[in-house]
Assembly symmetry: C2
Homo-oligomer: 338 residues x 2
């Protein structure tokens, strides 16, 4: 177990390194923080911290920088979540309040997060799986062509075209629409399949293929959309990264372009606690020198999706965590209202 002062030294190192982006030495440390001890003592502490793997030196006789393990300790034990100023909070609310639809909410959220944290922001669209059905609409575009529109309680709209072999009467369609809605409106998405299974049987045999087709498309939409969409913004902030540019930034940009990677980044954990993944804790190579701060958000008490930011491991964790948490809360509110 590390002594109180050694933790303090680690904290100072993290803070200074985050600020200056340069390895920090013992002398500089004592000058900028009032630790009450001399550089020599700090050197001894540093030697211990290095032995334990919390800090490292880029090369012999240079200052120290925190390791992933060092950041982890800092985040777990020492870093609070820095609340935003009331001005910032007002700005968030104003900005999000102007949104006209779900797309707009997500787009604004991404820009907001990126601006606030000066990092790359990632926002997942509210998931269909965990949300519930607000309405199902069926439109006859042509005699044998139906459009299915699915509206969720998070304001998301999905549409699908269905080609039927035979024409479908308007009354049949209206009937199906009514029955379908009476069964599924208000239901969680995952609960829908068993509720509609027997629907075709109650229709005239001639119409059953069409009904079955509609149901199949509906269920398919479910499944397809568990593969969720994500919006990303603030890529220009990547240029704030290290100076050894191309090598650092390239793989990050590449990783960020892959939906799958992004989804995994936000984490599969369902709980709404904030997760911080630091450096190598990210499975994905190329994101080894980045950290991800993510949290769930939702209209009610349960998270329907996640959002977060991706930045260098050398980031201002308390500030970033504060911003992420605040934005998530406000987005949740907005969704609940609409």
């Amino acid at each position: 177990m590390l002594s109180e002062r050694r933790l303090e030294v680690l904290r100072a190192i993290v803070q200074d390194y985050v600020g200056t982006e340069e390895p920090v030495g013992s002398k500089a440390l004592t000058e900028r923080h009032s630790l009450g001890v001399s550089p020599a003592t700090v050197r001894n502490d540093m030697a211990v911290l290095e032995d334990e793997g919390y800090i490292a030196q880029p090369h012999t006789s240079a200052g120290r920088i925190p390791t992933d393990k060092g950041y982890r300790l800092f985040v777990d034990k020492m870093a609070g979540v820095k609340p935003l100023s009331s001005a910032e909070r007002r700005a968030i609310q104003n900005f999000l309040d102007g949104a006209v639809d779900l797309d707009d909410v997500v787009a604004r959220t991404v820009r907001l997060l990126a601006q606030l944290t000066r990092q790359v922001a990632v926002v997942q669209y509210p998931s269909l799986t965990r949300s519930s059905v607000r309405h199902v609409e069926l439109l006859a575009l042509a005699p044998a062509r139906i459009m299915l529109v699915l509206i969720t309680d998070t304001g998301r709209v999905e549409q699908r075209l269905i080609d039927c072999q035979a024409p479908v009467g308007e009354t049949v369609l209206a009937d199906l629409r009514a029955r379908l809605n009476s069964r599924v409106v208000g239901r969680r998405f995952a609960d829908v399949p068993p509720l509609v299974q027997d629907l075709p049987e109650s229709f005239d045999p001639d119409d059953r293929p069409a009904v079955a087709g509609v149901l199949a498309t509906l269920l398919e939409t479910l499944v397809e959309q568990t593969e969720e969409r994500i919006m990303l913004g603030g890529a220009a902030n990547l240029t704030r990264f290290n100076h050894d540019f191309p090598l650092t930034i390239r793989p990050v940009l590449e990783a960020l372009e892959e939906q799958m990677v992004l989804l995994k980044l936000l984490g599969e954990a369902t709980d709404s606690a904030m997760t911080v993944r630091i450096g190598h804790e990210n499975f994905h190579e190329g994101l080894n020198s980045t950290s991800v701060v993510a949290v769930g958000y939702g209209s009610g008490d349960e998270a329907v999706a996640k959002l977060g930011v991706v930045g260098p491991t050398r980031m201002d964790y308390p500030g970033t965590m504060g911003a992420v948490r605040a934005v998530a809360r406000y987005v949740g509110q907005i969704l609940a209202e609409s």
Copy 2:
């Protein structure tokens, strides 16, 4: 007017520079191209080309690189559009055929373009303004709450919530839905306003406020959506840029994050001819060392939106133009089918 051979020299310089990314000298030129003259002659030609502003030297006694004006001449007079190989074309078709909805079409198109050209791809969503109405749907979510869903012939769906002061009967809603659709289905978006202006008058006075509200929202949706959406991909390809990295890439990334800039980039020209904007021809600072190749695409003979790529001025123009044109054509086909 430049002699035939001098044009040939310019072409050779452009091609070599695009390939090697290094200033090209007279000796190297004669070795790699059979111009039939000696380096000394080429030097003379180069001096002339430089006087005319088509090429420049980064510093005295280095090779030459093309200027924006040089690229312009190259594109206008010498560069054909290089058709894709049949294998590439088959790949495009296969890839795009798998799309399930409009979002998916756009997303796939962006990835395809980025991969094909190894540059940043930009695809504009089919515009509401220039497309026509396929269906308008009105749903009563609550007694005094209506959802308006607008479906266009390009498969785009927009939805809006409308709060009415008083409850609206289901029959009234059905009536409005029917009349609205009979008037506007199949109409170009720009033609809609006059067609619905007198609708409220034919309803019971009690219902007129609600009807007016619906119409207002519909027309508003029109206007709002002339501010169009855009999708972007392949940002990682920016790392292929120059070696003097951060300075070059930073402003580009920033510019690409602004919807407005992107929209202007694609060009306001309505015609479907391909536009190539080179270096300083782009109004936007920060895009001064990039070129934009854009073209319209659409389901019919008229363009409903644009797509294109952004890359370094030093790009393979014939190849890029070929890829952009081919992708635009296939996307148009896909849209026409759905």
